[in-house]
């Protein structure tokens, strides 16, 4: 026998076997008593906004119910009773969640299951035992120990029986209706069971992480002959989170950057987070494609569908239906199941989320963490866990600054991208990061690229994860909300699962300053308050003036100083005060403060200065200085002789009645104040003119006019107004001091120039807690503070 004849026989035998299989499948689906299969869904979703309890306080109550059911009932005719149907199988599957709670008490109901109610004469006939089986358990919750009575409505969570109109004809189009707030669908076909399934390749499914433009592909197969398939992204099971990341709304660049150009103009900011992208569906093979449904044109034994994510935190539910050949062109769609490994599911959750936290299991750092958790532990800071961002928001991620914050266009970047005649695209170089749920995150925006260059230095000093963002990434310098997509739209939960905190989290606005006379300053929203980022309006930092040939104009400021200044001021914007100060309920409690010309007049009594008072003397008409609105101004401090101020020294310039009266100074560092403590702490001040000798205190002596004896010019300048300070004041060793360049101090002990074993200039920090114990990032810590 020739080989090809052998192959032909083998092929014929194989075809015969397959045909017999098909016949077997078809014959098994024949119905001797006109069996019909009734399938459908029941969805009940209720959210009550602005509900309150019945106490006089009328506490807000959050009421939410979401019940999803599917059913598959099988009926058959009774031969000797025309028109009478007997129900041979009644399978109901449900998942239900409901919550109704105020801040003090409430109810939580949740349950899921599947049951076959078995044969009955009526489709809705239930025994008492079956009614109990369909109950959803509810628990009463108390969130306070106080005995408070308050009526809170119990969530209406129950499994509803299908409403079956038995007059419906086989293959009739699916009926959809709403009754009592629940949405019903009903389909009937004559085929008992189609042998079709969607085989899910576990490996890519498990590895899938939602990201705009990322796809997953599935194949539905029929072993019972050609079928038409319909794929649906369940509207109630597919998220529509506003934007596409925690801090990014849908904009023009979104479509270009993620190769979704054909959805431009069709896809809204709150569109579904999983879609059927039309470009993936050819017109020949597909009869209907919308964002949430796709239907094959002709019956096939297999159909391949691609699902596209539109959000970094997308959650979806895919359902697949098949239409038997007998119903072609009409209804009769029946759900088919998914096979994932050995498990069979009636729908497929996207992405794989076995820990049920709305976050892809493939994102290992978030595995097992509740989506609403905000308990980042590191760095510990003031003990307030979290960074104001839920685990869901952190996993959904943030856009951070790429290069610059405006439109960028380079041949290099756009070499292989069709831009549809756009010459520039804002945000092209933005980069997406999913932040750690264990480490606190801080977001900083600055329009100045040189300041942006320095911001990463904050991470080493504080232990935080610090991200540089563009203004658009926190909704503007006025708002500064970094998680605005959920916050601004009021979305706090999805399907009863918390996704966002009750309050927004703020970023920090870092801007270049000009001619402030300060190296930098953190400007509070409310004067005198210091704490998490929401309390700081902006951080201003003076940059060097590199273009100037004028040393005075440039000052001593160099680019290298910027790191210290930025870290120091951002330190204030996360609640860390100077080494002599404390924070009480977010109010700054000042220590004695270094004596400086600027504040001296408020420091005469020895206590903390009063920042609210002007630094002026009301009446000194004989002053050297011309009056400006009747005020006179201090020339400088005068350090009285004693200690290191001796006549003949370079700074010994003040005379009165031809007698030497003291040395000039602009600052006197006081023990336990700004210059004290850990030498390397970036919150410590460095440098001064004089310091208090250990065990002594600088005392105010007098205010008066003195003569500045200028030895180089050999003349006296009269009428210098000074504040004289005495005590044992020693010359500050500026040559041994420098800006702290390390991490926030974890001890109050003086080191380096402040160590008792070394120069002991300023001693220990003047408070009982080191800087690390003040650090706070979570805006919820200051909840209620304006």
């Amino acid at each position: 026998m020739k080989p090809h004849v052998g192959w032909a026989i083998a092929a014929a035998l194989t075809a015969a076997v397959m045909a017999s299989g098909d016949l077997t499948a078809q014959s098994s689906s024949s119905s001797p008593h006109n069996r019909r299969v009734w399938t459908g869904t029941i969805d009940y979703r209720e959210i009550i906004l602005n509900a309150t309890d019945t106490t006089p306080i009328r506490r807000p109550v959050r009421y939410f119910v979401n019940v999803h059911q599917t059913f598959r009932f099988v009926s058959e005719e009774v031969p000797d009773q025309p028109g009478f149907k007997r129900w041979v199988s009644r399978q109901i599957t449900w998942s239900a969640y409901g919550s109704s709670a105020s801040s003090i008490e409430g109810y939580e109901c949740s349950g899921s299951g599947s049951v076959d109610l078995g044969p009955a004469d009526g489709y809705d006939a239930l025994t008492t035992q079956q009614e109990e089986q369909l109950q959803i358990p509810c628990e009463e919750r108390k969130y306070t120990d106080a005995a408070v009575w308050a009526f809170i409505p119990k969530p209406d969570v129950k499994v509803r029986m299908p409403d079956i109109d038995t007059s419906m004809t086989t293959c009739e189009a699916t009926r959809r209706w709403t009754a009592n707030g629940a949405r019903y669908t009903l389909t009937v076909s004559g085929v008992q069971q189609m042998n079709a399934v969607v085989d899910v390749d576990r490996e890519p499914y498990a590895a899938f992480v939602p990201e705009p433009g990322h796809t997953l592909t599935f194949t539905a197969r029929s072993a019972s002959g050609p079928l038409r398939f319909r794929f649906e992204l369940d509207r109630t099971g597919t998220s529509r989170f506003p934007g596409y990341a925690s801090n990014a709304n849908i904009d023009d660049v979104f479509f270009t950057k993620h190769n979704l150009a054909s959805l431009r103009g069709q896809y809204a900011n709150d569109g579904p987070d999983f879609v059927f992208y039309p470009e993936h569906f050819g017109r020949v093979d597909w009869a209907r494609v919308s964002l949430d449904a796709a239907e094959t044109r002709v019956a096939e034994t297999a159909a391949l569908v691609t699902v596209t994510a539109m959000d970094y935190g997308a959650v979806g539910r895919l359902r697949v239906y098949a239409q038997p050949a007998e119903c072609e062109g009409a209804g009769g769609w029946q759900p088919i199941s998914f096979r994932v490994g050995t498990a069979t599911r009636e729908h497929l959750d996207l992405p794989l989320d076995e820990d049920d936290n709305l976050i892809a299991d493939a994102l290992e750092p978030y595995r097992g963490i509740d989506s609403g958790a905000d308990d980042d532990a590191e760095p510990k800071g003031n003990g307030m866990a979290g960074d104001g961002l839920t685990a869901f928001e952190e996993s959904r991620g943030f856009l951070t600054r790429g290069a610059g914050c405006g439109p960028e266009v380079t041949e290099a970047v756009y070499g292989d991208v069709e831009l549809n005649n756009q010459s520039q695209v804002v945000g092209w170089s933005d980069e997406h990061v999913r932040t750690s749920p264990r480490k606190k995150d801080l977001f900083v925006h600055t329009p100045d690229p040189e300041l942006a260059l320095v911001v990463p230095a904050v991470d080493r000093a504080t232990g935080l994860d610090v991200h540089v963002i563009c203004e658009a990434h926190y909704a503007g310098n006025e708002s500064r909300v970094v998680n605005f997509t959920l916050q601004d739209s009021g979305v706090r939960a999805w399907q009863g699962t918390t996704v966002a905190n009750p309050e927004p989290q703020h970023g920090i606005y870092l801007e270049p300053a000009d001619s402030l006379g300060l190296r930098g300053v953190a400007i509070p929203v409310t004067e005198g308050l210091i704490g998490p980022p929401k309390l700081t309006r902006s951080v201003k930092v003076t940059k060097p003036q590199p273009g100037s040939s004028n040393a005075a104009h440039r000052g001593r400021l160099e680019y290298a100083d910027l790191i210290h200044t930025v870290v120091h001021e951002i330190g204030h914007s996360i609640g860390v005060p100077h080494h002599g100060d404390l924070v009480d309920n977010w109010r700054l409690v000042l220590g004695r403060q270094n004596v400086v010309t600027w504040l001296s007049l408020q420091q005469h009594a020895g206590g903390p200065p009063d920042f609210t008072q002007p630094n002026s003397l009301p009446e000194m008409p004989e002053s050297y200085y011309a009056a400006v609105e009747g005020r006179q101004y201090l020339t400088s401090l005068l350090v009285a002789p004693g200690g290191d101020c001796v006549e003949g020294a370079a700074d010994a310039i003040y005379y009165k009645d031809n007698q030497f009266v003291g040395c000039t100074a602009d600052s006197i560092a006081r023990r336990g104040q700004q210059n004290s403590g850990d030498f390397e702490c970036p919150m410590r001040y460095s440098g001064s003119d004089y310091y208090e000798a250990p065990g002594t205190i600088a005392r105010f002596l007098w205010t008066g006019l003195v003569t500045y004896r200028h030895r180089a010019w050999k003349r006296d300048l009269h009428g210098h107004l000074v504040d004289a300070w005495g005590g044992t004041l020693l010359k500050y060793r500026n040559d041994l001091d420098r800006d702290g360049q390390g991490i926030l101090c974890s001890r109050i002990d003086g080191t380096g120039i402040n160590s008792p074993s070394e120069q002991d200039h300023n001693g220990n920090a003047g408070r009982d807690r080191p800087c690390v114990d003040f650090l706070v990032v979570n805006d919820r810590a200051a909840s209620g503070t304006p």
Binding site: T400, G547, S548, L557
Partner: protein, 287 residues
């Protein structure tokens, strides 16, 4: 000899061909998708500004890269990166309608960490702008002088920075990168309801411009006018002090700084830069 000459010529031709291939094939390949330059433009340290005619404009054009960018260089010793920078109007792409002069040398700031992770900034003025992972920023400052901007007609001007390599430049990074546009709103002095505020801003920026340009007498004149206008504004006195110090009029500078000290708005921070200025002047006054 003739044969040797032919071989030499052939060798040279081969080397030239290889070099040409390298220039055309390898150089463009450095411009891969992982190279992500970005350009930022600020005008008077902001992304938009509202001015009166006669207010100088200081444009800082900064070239940087994304955190994920691969290393690459823009420009070289023959064609420094800052010579590739220009400003153009949006959307016309015409040159800006005022004369721009470069102020100070271009500067390159590098963010580095030592083995312990200790961060530091270093500064240089290299011709080739090194860009890698967002750790370098190269800035050049252009200015339009007050007498130039005095001729600007009221209206809104949108300007962007552009860095573009010429077509013949086949080595290093090749391409074009543009910044976001900054907006310059020029008000008519006779009709602006913020005239007083904008006039003070004009004087302050003029003083700053002249200080930066080392034209201290003009800076002093602007600062004196500003002090007359805003005697209680510490910034005016600081600028006057800076100008006086530039003119070596140290006594006046000290006076101005000390007035500024008294007028500083309340703040949690010490006026370290002002104290530094005073120390600098006092030191200069010493024998």
């Amino acid at each position: 000899v003739k044969k040797r000459r032919i071989v030499s010529i052939a060798l040279l031709a081969a080397i030239a061909a290889v070099a040409a291939v390298l220039l055309f094939a390898i150089a463009p390949s450095t411009a891969t998708k992982t190279v992500r330059p970005g350009l930022t433009l600020l005008v008077n340290q902001r992304t938009q500004t509202e001015i009166l005619p006669g207010t100088p404009l200081l444009f800082d054009v900064s070239l940087g890269s994304s955190p994920s960018s691969a290393p690459f260089d823009v420009g070289d010793r023959w064609r420094p990166w800052h010579s590739l920078v220009r400003l153009e109007q949006v959307p016309t792409e015409q040159t800006v309608p005022w004369t721009l002069v470069r102020v100070g040398p271009p500067r390159s700031i590098h963010f580095v960490r030592d083995n312990d992770g200790q961060p530091a900034l270093t500064e240089d003025s290299s011709s080739a702008a090194r860009l890698e992972a967002g750790r370098h920023v190269h800035t050049v400052t252009f200015a339009a002088a007050p007498n130039d901007t005095g001729r600007i007609k009221p209206g809104t001007y949108r300007v962007r920075g552009v860095v573009e390599t010429p077509s013949w430049m086949y080595w290093g990074w090749k391409g074009r990168v543009a910044s976001a546009a900054v907006a310059i709103v020029v008000r008519d002095p006779s009709s602006s309801d913020r005239r007083e505020q904008l006039d003070a801003e004009r004087l302050a920026l003029a003083a700053k411009f002249f200080l930066t340009a080392g034209r201290f007498e003009e800076a002093r004149q602007a600062a004196v006018s500003l002090v007359t206008m805003n005697p209680l504004d510490s910034r005016s006195h600081i600028l006057l002090g800076d100008a006086s110090a530039g003119l070596n009029r140290l006594e006046e500078a000290l006076d101005a700084y000390q007035r500024a000290m008294a007028l500083l708005p309340r703040s949690y921070e010490e006026p370290r830069l002002l104290i530094d200025r005073i120390r600098g002047v006092v030191h200069a006054m010493q024998p």
